[in-house]
C-alpha cells in the first residue's frame, strides 16, 4: 500500500538531510582548526544526494540515497604567523577551506528540508489512521 511507502520515502529524506546537517556541523566545528601541513588540514565535506529508485516501491516514487561524502577541493587558507606553535619551518600555518557563511545557509536549508519531511510523514500518519477508522462509529 502506497501510504506506507511514504514513511520509507520521507524517512530516507530525513536521514539524508541529517547526514547533511552532520557534515555541516563538522565543517563549522573545524572551521578554525590549524595545522602545519597541507595534507593534515581539514577540508570542507559535503554529501552527494541521489534519487533512489527502489525496486520495492512503485516505479514512480523515489527515496533519497546518500552516494557519499566528498571533500571540497577549494584552496586552503595559508597564513604567515611564525610565532604560532604549529607553524612549519617557513612560518606558515594552514587553515581549512570552510566557508562559514555558506555552511550556515546550508544548515538552515537542511533543517528546513528535514522539517518538511517530518510534516509529510505526519500527514501520511493522519491519513492512514483515518483510513483505519473507516466504517467505525
Amino acid at each position: 500500500m502506497s501510504l506506507y511507502n511514504i514513511f520509507n520515502v520521507s524517512g530516507s529524506g530525513m536521514s539524508a538531510q541529517s547526514v547533511r546537517l552532520n557534515t555541516t556541523a563538522s565543517n563549522i566545528a573545524n572551521a578554525n582548526t590549524v595545522s602545519s601541513s597541507v595534507d593534515e588540514t581539514y577540508r570542507a565535506r559535503h554529501p552527494v544526494f541521489q534519487a533512489e529508485m527502489s525496486k520495492a516501491l512503485s516505479d514512480q516514487s523515489a527515496g533519497v540515497n546518500v552516494l557519499g561524502v566528498v571533500e571540497s577541493d577549494a584552496p586552503l587558507k595559508v597564513e604567515y604567523s611564525p610565532n604560532h606553535p604549529l607553524a612549519d619551518k617557513d612560518g606558515y600555518v594552514y587553515k581549512p577551506n570552510v566557508n562559514v557563511v555558506e555552511e550556515m545557509a546550508n544548515m538552515i536549508s537542511a533543517s528546513r528540508s528535514y522539517e518538511t519531511n517530518v510534516q509529510i510523514a505526519d500527514a501520511a500518519k493522519t491519513m492512514l489512521s483515518k483510513t483505519l477508522q473507516m466504517g467505525q462509529r
Binding site: 520515502v9 544526494f49 473507516m134
Partner: protein, 132 residues
C-alpha cells in the same frame, strides 16, 4: 448477491487508491528537493482514475512455459512536471512550496473521499440494522 458492495462504494474506492498513490509521488518529490538532477513527477489524476476503474492492469496469457511474463501495470500515468523556473543550477526541478501545497490539497481530497466512503458505510449499516 443482492447487495453489491462494489456498486455501493462507487467511484470513491478507486479515487482513494489514486490519491494515496499521488501522495507517495508528491512525498518523493519533497524528499528529493535537494537531489541534483531529480525531476519532479506527478500523476495525471483523471487518467489514473480511469485506469483504476477499468481494472487493475492486464496481462497476456501464456501458451508456452518459455513465454515472457508480460503484464501491463496501471501505474503508467506518471508524468514529469513542467518546471516553473527554467534553470535551478543543478538540474533539479522540484519547487518545494508548490509540492507542499499539492500534497496538502491531495490530503484534503483523500479525506473527502474517505468521508464519502464513511457515509456510504453508515448508510449500509443503517439499512442493515433497520434504522435502530
Amino acid at each position: 448477491m443482492a447487495i453489491s458492495l462494489d456498486k455501493a462504494f462507487g467511484i470513491h474506492q478507486h479515487a482513494l487508491l489514486v490519491r494515496s498513490e499521488r501522495a507517495e509521488v508528491l512525498a518523493s518529490n519533497i524528499a528529493n528537493a535537494d537531489t541534483p538532477g531529480y525531476k519532479a513527477k506527478d500523476i495525471d489524476f483523471a487518467d489514473a482514475l480511469a485506469n483504476a476503474q477499468k481494472k487493475s492492469g492486464y496481462s497476456m496469457s501464456k501458451t508456452h512455459e518459455k513465454h515472457y511474463d508480460l503484464s501491463i501495470d496501471i501505474n503508467t500515468s506518471g508524468k514529469f512536471r513542467n518546471p516553473m523556473q527554467p534553470d535551478t543550477g543543478d538540474g533539479n526541478s522540484v519547487d518545494v512550496q508548490m509540492e507542499r501545497n499539492q500534497f496538502m490539497q491531495n490530503t484534503m481530497e483523500y479525506q473527502t473521499s474517505l468521508r464519502f466512503l464513511n457515509g456510504k458505510i453508515q448508510a449500509l449499516n443503517k439499512a442493515l440494522s433497520g434504522g435502530q
